[in-house]
Assembly symmetry: none
Homo-oligomer: 234 residues x 4
DNA sequence: CATGAATGAGTTTTCATTCAT
DNA sequence: CATGAATGAAAACTCATTCAT
């Protein structure tokens, strides 16, 4: 099993083998630490062929990102049954998401860790995919409100923030699940539903948690502590 | 401000200057893209001195991680008043967390992005800090249950998952807040409390979201879908 | 015009197409910067065919040099009418030379620039052609002396030097004309005749310019100034 | 004798050693065929040091061109005595030129062959130096006319052409002398003076060689032969 | 201590060249 | 013959790291 010296393959096949090797190497070593030598060897071909087909390290990384992003979004889309109620849709989407990230940890590492730490160009590539998912979740939250026959009086901006939080929590859980042996996709999904869905329900019912009035002084000894985004020390 | 040509400083001070420069460079460029030349110049010292004090690039990076991890945990700890009810404690802890990550974006980048993308050794360093914070949050959740005079009958394992989710969501929000102008620490904290605390409350009241019985077939055609962390195809 | 997809041409024709493409590419890019890929594509054939017919890049370049050298010498020869007086013969030879180099700038670039800058082997190839032309010019100078019924008492060696100078000046002028828009072949030839022929006439009449006696000290402080070709410092 | 492993030299000295090695390598191999490895080894240093001091192959080549151009122009300038009559000035300038090119054949190859065949940027660098020399020669021709108390009625443009021809002839002769053992700088200078100076004298006296009226048809069989710069087949 | 001089070992990338079909 | 698949060898360039002064 593994890279048997198979010669003379059609281009399309070889390209996939190269992408497989690249995703694995980039996912484990990181973009910069991954060497084209290693990728070529893992793919079972010579370096010039990698360049002939994929042009450059940058292009190769971009191709990886695109392929993995497409695979992930399609897995999630395929996992969701359009007709179901909102919570069921969210559940099945999350399950598909955690299943896919568990089956393709290197692809997930490329998307979630590597692509975001190695240049705006790559980050933008992932941001496009993420935006699509956030939009999907936003629709689900609004649908849930409609199903409950409530007018949650939630400003659009807040809904966006909640969707962000939910997606972000899912991403973190995926990392954690991949790093923690024994956690299944269903468990991750259940944890997240329990953690968030009831909170969302309360929110839509108008019950929200109110912060106390200016009681704190974190960042001990610093008067500007509550300033949040005041220009940080550079 | 910055690298004034000041001679003859005690070693401890010089080391801090070097770490300042290193955190900033690693945070902005990434571990591999950061060059020792740049760090030394930014610190206003010669390269051999950096090696004399900090041995190697790896050691320097590790030192950065340790310093920033310590600073972050201490900031959070200092923000929490032990006597308060659990929700207030969580609120103040989150506010301290978001405040600190906003004031030290390069340090946060080193901890959350760079350390996790450049080798197991560095990742382990951060994992230790994270474990501490997760433990703290776990205590809060249990305290909340006690305060509600309920026995939520939550298995330890599930509590751990919830704490993970909460911490993970906070991390994601910190990234998002740092990348989105105009979001204050208080706002981030409020969003997260609204998003999660009610869900936690429901959970502790015994109301939980129940997944449907084995209805899904994610990763179409693959029987191992529910296997979560079964060894992925390598 | 150019590489139409015409199949099944006789070998000789295909070879000429390849040489056309090669001369053009070598002339414009230079020997090393020219890639076999580019040449094959410009010739409208596949790379292996180029190797089948012409063996290697070196052989291909040599073939280019030979073809262009032959074309140039034949053009000059064809331009000269054997029966005319020496000055008229020189004039028509020069005109033919400047006309040819203007019509085939890439060929001229290959001969005069590229072949001389990329290795002894190629330079020798051109040197052979040049020797032929120099010999022809030498004959013309001697003929001119005979026509003038003078015995100029020119040592053979000096005649050789003069022929060299004339040919060299012609080469320089050809480069200059090719780089300067608006200069015709007749103009170049006229400039050179005016520049040199009277000088030659005077020489043959025994009037020569005499250098002063050892007055100079070029290459200040170096006693070897008059040494010309003594082995230079290596 | 040669590159003894001398360590720890001041930067200025090492840079000259590197330029020496580079001029020699570029002059003999050509710009593209010269490898930075070879240059570094010949200079007796490691490659990184070459890059540290001279940035890139392009910059290194440019530095070579500049240094050699400066050396050549200064050698010629130093060889000319301002007070002398024009022919004596030209004689001493030519002698200095041929002496210098003979003593520094690699430098001359870099200037005359390599720099002109490897990119506009380099060619421009040499063109500047050449323009300076052509201007100097132009002044000499005009001075000669003045000394002869003649108004040669030569249009400025024609004088420029003659200066070009003279400089071009000198360049060609320098190449030839460097390739032909036994030719001294004085001999080259004398040949060129004999070849050209009398011709110039005749020209200034109003005696010029007149081409016959449209008698020729070089480039046998081609009707466009006399067109000089008609667009060549591309 | 501080610093300029110096390098070993690696990186990405390109190209002439060949074979199997 | 024609062509797509494939590579050995080398090139330019970079960087963490170390001494001698």
């Amino acid at each position: 099993m593994g890279a048997v010296k198979t010669k003379r393959m059609p281009r399309a096949v070889r390209e996939q083998q190269m992408l497989d090797a690249a995703v694995r190497t980039f996912g484990q070593r990181g973009y910069m630490a991954a060497s084209m030598d290693e990728i070529a060897e893992l793919a079972g071909v010579s370096k010039p062929l990698v360049y002939l087909y994929l042009n450059s390290k940058e292009d190769l990384f971009t191709a990886c990102i695109r392929r993995e992003a497409k695979a992930l979004t399609e897995a999630v889309r395929a996992g969701v049954r359009p007709g179901l109620p909102a919570d069921r849709q969210l559940w099945s989407g999350l399950t598909a998401f955690f299943t896919h990230t568990a089956l393709h940890p290197d692809g997930w590492s490329v998307l979630h860790l590597q692509a975001r730490t190695h240049g705006e160009v790559f980050a933008a590539e992932v941001a496009a995919m993420r935006a699509e998912i956030v939009a999907f979740v936003t629709q689900l939250i609004l649908a849930a409100a409609r199903e409950a026959h409530r007018d949650p009086d939630l400003p659009e901006r807040e809904v966006a923030g909640l969707a962000e939080a939910l997606v972000g929590a899912a991403e973190s859980l995926a990392d954690w699940a991949n790093a923690t042996p024994g956690v299944t996709a269903r468990q991750s999904a259940a944890t997240l539903m329990n953690f968030a869905w009831a909170g969302l329900g309360d929110l839509m019912a108008g019950r929200r948690w109110s912060p106390p009035e200016e009681d704190d002084s974190p960042e001990a000894g610093t008067g500007t502590a509550h300033a949040g985004r005041t220009s940080p020390v550079r």
